[in-house]
Symmetry: C2
């Protein structure tokens, strides 16, 4: 299977990915490494936070978004990396359970400085098993162009 | 030690944190879980990417930023969470080695809807052992106010 190039995407294309399961142990082990704050580490301490009960670090949520983005889109795309992320919004606490991701291609722009590349802008929403949106993100990918490669 | 409240911060305050060491094994194990793309998983495959040699997932870099933010600031702050991240820019590839973080408080705004909270905006740069800036981020924290708590 050839990889999808910049020319193979269209604005308005929607990709649904998942579900992916996150467990309470996953939440605690991520937090121990990267975000050791009580509400992400321990059910008891979490009861005292604004949000009651254990919930995932926002950064953990962003990493789960990355995994779904790779599984749903990047694994068969001529992905050349990313300049960064334009926006992250934590909409609701992420508990142990299933998450799905809805990605939309909102802009396709050939790179002027690097004609072998195009910039693909994505808007995405992550939703939990109850149908509640937990994360909104806007990000940019660099994707190889087939025409420039000839 | 009482936690630092919103009133204890000043615009222009700078916090330097680190170093924190990331190894090639850390880079590969993070990638296996969250960003399984060849250039983050395997030195050999990485030679064929735009950036030669193994380098960390951008999301891994953002997670290391989170860890330094907790160690340098949040651990003794009345942190109530975050609405999200306003910008992430990957400036240079992150290799195995030491990273340090420079955080600057750029805005302090009391919340109108929640008088017990204030919003603290941060600008941050992560730098490698060569002094090269590898990551720029803009993020917002929610911090408890001492006065509203009385």
């Amino acid at each position: 299977m050839p990889l999808r190039s910049f020319e193979d995407f269209t604005v308005g294309e929607i990709v649904e990915v998942g579900p992916l399961t996150v467990t309470a142990d996953d939440i605690k082990s991520f937090a121990a490494e990267f975000d050791p704050q009580p509400m992400h580490l321990d059910e008891g301490a979490a009861q005292n936070a604004i949000v009651g009960g254990l919930f995932a670090s926002g950064m953990h949520t962003v990493c789960l978004h990355m995994r779904l983005l790779v599984d749903g889109l990047l694994h068969d795309t001529a992905s050349m990396g990313s300049p960064g992320v334009d926006e992250v919004r934590y909409l609701a606490p992420v508990r142990a359970g299933e998450l799905t991701l809805c990605l939309e291609v909102v802009e396709l722009r050939p790179s002027h400085s690097r004609p072998q590349w195009g910039l693909l802008k994505l808007r995405s929403h992550m939703v939990n098993a109850d149908g509640t949106a937990v994360l909104r993100m806007a990000s940019t990918l660099i994707v190889g162009r087939r025409e420039a490669a000839r």
